[in-house]
Symmetry: D2
């Protein structure tokens, strides 16, 4: 924490701030510059609290220096990326791990067809929504527990573990009984009770970046889960909200190298939500792999034009197969394999 | 819904789209323009589903025409603004309704002092957090039920009803037993299970706009609550996320006239979260009233520089009193009163 | 400038950075915190250059501390707001100064009608575009010099000085021969040769904030003009680009108190471009005055539905007159007058 | 253009709008839906003008349907990507074209060293700024004509053509006498007189996307240049402004597939400005190639920690060589070659 005094701050104001800092039990190191005086605050502290120092007389602003996350940060004892295992699916190793499946579970037949296609194409994991966060209360809200049962069945048939979203603290136990990995959706990235509850299941968690969340916000959300003792977290970049309207969201692929530098957690990319258009998915999936992502999450539907949700951004099974083939040389070029 | 064909779309492609539209049970009205053909789709439909028509051959894009919210929309039977009563506090009438109080309940003495100050200055309602959505798991998370009890006590002493945030579906009943109005925080604006649960209590709801939510998103969140039969909703503009770093958020005051035009629900503005700096609060509070807001929500603390959260944006009790006086002529200028 | 070392930085890395700092002729003050070491750099320096220190071994990042603008900043010798006079129109005094007129000059009759209406309603200055920055090369680009001549004529008839945009360094002399004040449009806020050229005319300048410009960017653009010796600058908030689509731009009224705190230059608000909808203009104009703006710039057209540009956001003459009346009590409430 | 009537619009209002449409010489096709009436407008028209129809009584809003650009759009007569030749450098063919060089020309020796390194590593073109758009008037503004001469010399020595930015209409002729390709910088993307002037030189143009420009805005800027008869345009994605602060800008790689679909012009990506950090450049350069970019523009400096500008985002010559090698298998994976 560095407290920056106003250009014309008096010596008395500087002394006042130093006194307040010491009153809180911290050390104060004033440095008199050419134009400004700054005061470095040293101590083991809750920085957020100290931000109120901006209210002290003569203070211009308070600059935070430390990163607020610790467990999610790069730590000396962890070399490279932490490996998260979800049954046979492994995130953070040399293999590229592709999660695929429909936006929502709609029917047994449809899910079975997609699951078979995903497995055959080399997907490592199945996805599908049983509880759907829909912006309209008048649209399909998911098959709920019946959807979970269908996912379990499809998972057992194909040998692919599955991830599904949980939106409500009251549902965490139920969903955790079925799913191999719990997804925190973008709209719940800062639903703190849900983060804690999901963390406490001990299950691996797929944590999606919020629509207006910075990379630091995402790591703080991971920190919430990790503070429950559960460090099995896979981060997911899925696009942020910007002024651009040609895409549903703006996929921020620079989050991949940034997260790799700031954190030891594996990172996957969701080019389906990240773009909103199936015709963009292959280009952005390839880009994500080239940028160093540990995996992908892709929406696949047996008949996208009839999907009850996210049709415009869902690949057909054939398109998904073609994508998996196209990804192979890219994966190899960055030192990864992709075959199951 | 209007389907816009690509510039070079063939007659066969147009026929194909028309056939698909009819197959779904809708009417199709093609219009051949100079450069393009568009097809208007008529029927009582779930528009979201039809967006997948962008995948049909020859289609350029699908333009939504209808507004997706109905109960929250301006309706012929409702003239002006719906009046929401929270005990003696009234939103949507000729009186400007000011909610004030600390970010978080920290102690009995502090809360009592603030509540007294708010009441004396003409505030109509008390606010205070008992469960706090903190971005760090290592910071103060609220006094929980003890905080609710203190709020109740302060409310009874001053005669001011109180609003407090609920973040977890499991806590809704408990919080509803204490509070006069339930707040949905910005980070939970699209926490759909919470919206439903809060709606079902029948209590008045203060619904804050999400950090990256459009005005339409906000009205869709209101629609979620209203679809439970509870129409007692007050909308709250509290700033959106933009590239600007001089403010914590960018307070979008144009949301006030926009919401007034698109909806019949009352609108309040939170200049504290909307700016993040107490020195900006008076200017933006005055601006909000001039823009036509039905009320304000302002953070007030007995000693902001010692507040455990939101200190930089909290007014002192004296600053709040001065603000209330300064608001009087502005309120009067737009045909409102403010005295209790 | 504060250099923040990485969490695990070695003593040798710290020494290396200190050596480099000294090699550039600055002083280095290392402070060893609980988790991190930071090094404060003292000296009269070009901060931008020093940002490359983030490349040195062991450095996490470089935090800028100083404000990069000097002339545009609050300065001890200037109390309150600098007053800028444009003939009889005065910005920064106790009177609220309203600039109004059409987006583009279209015809002699139309301009005359609007100018008369603006003067009669108490407007202090006329606006109108002769050279128009249009996003399409196929639309009306302005009447050019003929438009300037019409503005001059309307100005002489009404006694209102006028402001008009200049977009091209080659046109600055010509436009300056006619206009009382030169406007730098939002899209040219970082057209640095134009800023210099306009500054050198010595004419008062209306500087509009760019669509994606921070408040600091705006003040740096002002600094460019001021570094030519011309300090007659009026800043104009006109909306920034965000994800919201209900408005053409998001009018950032918090820029008013922010600019008032960081700078001594007067500030006006353009609610027409700031919203894009004439039905929003009155609410936002009132809000701007309540927030402390020194003036407004409003688009007015004799027949908005037939305007060649910006029709949707233009007020009729009658609407402008009604707005001016509605502004009077708001202006008075914040200690301003508005009558001519 | 589709005019959407308000939910409760009367038949008289619909008739009024139809009358106005016909009065402007267009055809009107009303379609009566379940909830709404829409009126499609047919005719060869300036759409922008018609947006003022939102002011007519009973109208809710006006939805634009046509794309406003024509020459920059995908056209039936152009298959694939238009190939732009800049001497031996070719954009839009099977070879990936890499432009590299320093942010600013600083000295003969430095430029010579970088140019040699770029050529040796397989770069196809040299870049370097002689006129720099600096946000501060107090920092290095470029070597001006002397810088152009140095670029010319380095170009002749290495055989690499060069691109350099022109910021001022008055400088276009001078810069065009030296440079092989003219760059329009991000801050000038909507400097319309400059677009016209540069277009008229007939020289190839590198057009960078503005910080807050949509993909449509970028194509409209290209349209401006193309309307002068000069179709030799290479588009450049270089990051947009968002709320994220971990990067200087948010590199929007989805612009690559979007521009490829909407336009026939070649697209390059600038990962240096797009991220602001040299450690991110390799990941994003690889991602850009995987996404289908026709080339890259990369900042390279002989000693980035001593660069007068953009040091933090500049690669060393050795880092550039390593990047070029790493790009080879990615290029090959998407059917491109990269060797010179």
């Amino acid at each position: 924490m560095v407290i920056v005094m106003q250009a014309g701050a008096t010596e008395a104001q500087v002394e006042g701030v130093i006194g307040t800092i010491k009153g809180f039990g911290f050390q104060a190191h004033p440095i008199h510059g050419v134009n400004l005086t700054v005061i470095a605050v040293v101590g083991d502290k809750t920085q957020e609290h100290l931000e109120a120092f901006q209210l002290l007389e003569g203070v211009d602003h308070v600059a935070r220096i430390d990163k607020p996350y610790k467990l999610a940060a790069r730590r000396p004892e962890i070399v490279g990326t932490t490996v998260i295992e979800v049954g046979p699916a492994i995130f953070g190793g040399s293999r590229l791990t592709v999660i695929a499946g429909p936006c929502a579970v709609e029917s047994e037949e449809g899910l079975r067809e997609v699951a078979r296609g995903v497995a055959a194409a080399g997907g490592a994991m199945l996805r599908g929504g049983a509880y759907k966060p829909r912006t309209s209360p008048y649209t399909f809200q998911g098959m709920r527990e019946a959807g979970l049962a269908l996912l379990k069945m499809a998972s057992q048939r194909t040998g692919l573990p599955f991830v599904t979203e949980v939106m409500d603290t009251r549902m965490v136990d139920l969903v955790a009984r079925y799913a191999d990995m719990l997804q925190i959706g973008a709209r719940n990235m800062q639903n703190f009770p849900l983060l804690s509850e999901v963390g406490q299941t001990g299950k691996p968690v797929l944590l999606k970046r919020g629509l207006s969340s910075t990379i630091e916000d995402l790591l703080m959300a991971a920190e919430y889960i990790m503070s429950t003792g559960n460090e099995k977290i896979v981060l997911c970049e899925r696009g942020i909200r910007t002024f651009e309207t040609a895409t549903r969201n703006t996929l921020d692929l620079s989050a991949v190298p940034a997260l790799k530098r700031f954190s030891h957690l594996p990172v996957v990319v969701d080019p389906s939500h990240g773009t909103g258009h199936s015709w963009m998915v292959p280009a952005m999936a390839k880009a994500a792999v080239a940028a160093g992502a540990d995996g992908l999450m892709v929406e696949v539907h047996q008949a996208p034009e009839r999907a009850v949700s996210d049709g415009p951004q869902s690949l057909t099974i054939a398109e998904f197969q073609a994508l998996m083939e196209a990804l192979q040389p890219i994966a190899k070029a960055v030192g990864r394999s992709i075959c199951p």
